[in-house]
Amino acid sequence: MYTVRGIDEWWLVARSSVAKHCASALAAVDEKEDAQEKRASDSDDVDRGGWWGRLPAC
């Protein structure tokens, strides 16, 4: 069985380790999802006529 102190330490180590992993992955996740959001936004722009709709008529 764990002592109360043992549980606290066990939990702290786990929490700190997960936080480190997530913090180190955050930049890559942000970059990927920002690029996806931008692509989706650009695509909406085109669908609504966006830059395409602003081209001079031939």
Binding site: A14, V18, C22
Partner: protein
């Protein structure tokens, strides 16, 4: 087939053990079987993290063991990503495979002694069946993922499983809270 989430998770564990045995004994199958191992474990982990650990933590009183299991998933993800980079016929493969086998076997043993019995006793049959369905659906959706593929939402769930209060924090606040807990 049982729909009990505990049985389903244990079936996956046995499947992974049989893949480990094959990879260790039959070097000729490594090139074809390593990607199967990697994606099966990645999908299994993501499904546990999103569907099972929150229930184990909040409904079955398994918060400490869930936090530790989450930590071990992240270690396994790193090792699996490294294994998938190894040449299956190269010298490094054997060493990396041993690291994966040791880490995952340790995790499976602990999970089967702590989190899973806690769910068996703390959740009723209907709830475990409901979680079983959710687990299978999520695992199916993640098959094909690499171990370190994750969305921001999945990453926030991993942090929440380790009792890091991420809530609906935006980018900057999320970074701050992760940094704060990383320094504990």
């Amino acid at each position: 087939m049982s729909e009990d989430v505990v049985d389903l998770i244990m079936q996956d564990h046995r499947e992974v053990e049989s893949i480990f045995e094959k990879l260790q004994r039959e070097p000729e199958v490594r090139a074809g079987l390593t990607p199967v191992l990697v994606t099966l474990l990645a999908a299994h982990s993501r499904a546990e993290e999103s569907e099972v650990y929150p229930a184990a933590r909040d409904e079955a009183g398994e918060a400490e063991d869930v936090a530790h299991s989450q930590e071990e998933h992240l270690l396994a993800d790193r090792l699996l990503a490294e294994l998938s980079e190894c040449d299956p016929f190269g010298d490094d493969y054997e060493k990396k495979l041993k690291e994966v086998v040791d880490a995952v076997t340790h995790h499976v043993e602990e999970e089967e002694k702590t989190v899973l019995p806690g769910m068996r006793s703390g959740l009723d049959d209907a709830r475990r069946a409901e979680l079983g369905q959710a687990f299978l659906k999520s695992r199916q959706e993640h098959l094909g993922d690499m171990p370190q593929d994750r969305t921001r939402a999945e990453m926030k769930q991993q942090a929440a499983n380790a009792d890091i209060p991420v809530g609906d924090k935006g980018k900057e606040a999320l970074r701050d809270v992760l940094d704060e807990h990383a320094d504990e």
